[in-house]
Symmetry: C2
Subunit: 345 residues, 2 copies
């Protein structure tokens, strides 16, 4: 079957432009419209009429509800926007900062179905009851942190990834390996859903230590309130003040790791010689840090593709049971752990 993508390639325009012509939107120039029409004719493109009929009354807007103060989500959002755009949808973002009130403000609007065809979000504030009742009557896919029964969910294997990062630090001969990012409230409480991601990362960290015969030292495990650079810096300061400070640290996201690295370097200590630092997220910022950051890189493009594909199946009426979809990840080893020797060493 000829797709809009084929037509776009032939006409030398974007899929979005083809979609605009097919849907007879106003803002395509006459010249471009003619060019696309030629390609449509040449390829004998036939729109999926069932889909277009279903499509009536829709806004073609998807809502992406995320804490955008973390670059991981900003980068993930770019992929979601791309994936949705290829399918003719516009994505609007709502930044929540994990605030329950902000999540309610957008998710609980009475006109939400008129505004949005579907939702992709990473809820941090709503209660499990709210999420379940909400998700019951709205196409939705959840990402990351929180899982709720009966709602499609996309994530990576956080335990395996955290274990691999910790094993890498062990393989360098480090024995006092700290962890920064244990949540203050790791388990479900007060009607809130479990924040699964951090708990999974802790599990992977502990498994790696145990399998290597290393003790799990509570003083090397630091809780944080948020996942920002300053939290990582504060946590590392406390670790460096210990009588026996760590020789390596695994941070549950890259911002924590960049803050931790700053704390080490600001004391005149060296990364990785004195303290090896590993992060999680694979954000662009880590590649440009000095030294560049070793990190777990989730396949963000694949996460976005799985989430958008699943969501649009729901938008089109799929009522099958909820699924857990898993995307791949890789460990990117760089100078913050396995540094190239400095001149003179």
């Amino acid at each position: 079957m000829v797709t809009q993508r084929d037509v776009a390639r032939r006409a030398g325009v974007s899929v979005r432009t083809v979609s605009n012509v097919v849907n007879n939107f106003a803002y395509v120039s006459e010249e471009t419209r003619a060019q696309v029409q030629r390609a449509l004719d040449e390829l004998d493109y036939r729109p999926n009429l069932a889909a277009r009929s279903l499509n009536r009354g829709r806004s073609n807007l998807l809502a992406l509800v995320l804490p955008l103060d973390v670059p991981y989500f900003t980068e993930l959002a770019a992929h979601v926007v791309d994936q949705a755009e290829e399918r003719g949808y516009t994505v609007l973002l709502d930044r929540t900062e994990g605030s329950a009130e902000r999540e309610r403000q957008i998710l609980m609007r009475r006109d939400r179905s008129a505004l949005f065809d579907g939702f992709i979000f990473s809820p941090l504030g709503l209660t499990e009851d709210e999420l379940r009742s909400w998700a019951g009557d709205c196409p939705a896919v959840m990402l990351g942190e929180v899982q709720v029964e009966g709602v499609d969910h996309v994530a990576i294997d956080d335990t395996a990834a955290a274990k691999a990062a910790t094993e890498h630090l062990i393989s360098l001969g480090r024995t006092r390996i700290a962890a920064i990012g244990v949540p203050h409230r790791p388990k479900a409480s007060a009607g809130r859903p479990a924040r699964a991601t951090a708990a999974h990362r802790s599990a992977g960290y502990e498994q790696a230590l145990t399998e290597a015969g290393l003790p799990i030292r509570p003083e090397l495990t630091v809780r944080v309130r948020r996942y920002q650079r300053q939290d990582g810096r504060d946590a590392m300061e406390r670790l460096l003040d210990l009588a026996e400070p760590p020789d390596a640290v695994f941070c549950y996201n890259d911002l924590l790791a960049l803050g931790a690295m700053r704390a080490v370097l600001a004391r005149g200590l060296r990364v990785p010689q004195d303290v090896a630092v590993a992060g999680f997220d694979g954000i662009d910022e880590g590649r440009f840090a000095t030294p560049p950051l070793t990190t777990v890189v989730p396949d963000k493009a694949r996460i976005a593709e799985l989430a958008v594909t699943r969501l649009l199946e729901r938008v089109e009426g799929d009522k099958s049971p909820a699924v857990q979809l898993e995307a791949p990840w890789r460990l990117m080893i760089d100078e913050s752990t396995a540094g190239v020797p400095e001149a003179g060493e």
Copy 2:
């Protein structure tokens, strides 16, 4: 007059919650509703009935259309969301990456007025004609880069700020001061509005050099395609390959500066001893870089406040002539230019 803010303080809840109660939204718990109602009664709060009547038929949604791949805008967006929330509005973000098609997709929708009460945006792709005709029938405020006649605009004095940053580098005794970030297309062309910001920063850079009696050397002025870390790194590599490389560099945003700094450090050169590096934007990332980045810090909270205030005046029917609003900035001097001496030096 008693405001919702007063009521919120008395009731010990957020302004948003008060607004939800006043507007009789569904998702406030009975307990909280009673608490707010007590405070409303005690303070004898009277809603602004004219405003509430005008408010009928509105979505209470604002659109913020920005290139979110630059942390400056992500941080600015947080302030806009806060400011709008205090006034009972929800902000949805559309990330454009400066693509004209994406801007059109959201700005040119036929149902835009049903979706959004107003727009705040930083357009990079639309033509001046499109912007003028669009802004004519939609409440809108523009930020940063582009100015269009007849549309309210909020910015800082880019020329003065760039001049101050360059003068700071001159005050350190540097004489070969490079600039990274000159746009490929500095002037209006092909119907596109002038990208004013970069041109203003170039003007400030050149004024500072000229007033100090230093030559403007074309080989030290590097054009970039985008304002990302990799562009800064590539530009700096070229500068370091010159027969006479620069001893300082002023970058038109922090991402360029962080990429430039990485290029210097990766060659085993020192910042600031061999090359002093200054940026522009005051993003959080720069404070955690090693060394921390000297940068121009626009007052983002004030920019957001001016933009939201002006936009809501337009939403409420203000038809007065368009204004240029200016927010303050400051130069934050840190170790990337005025480094503390290293131990042993």
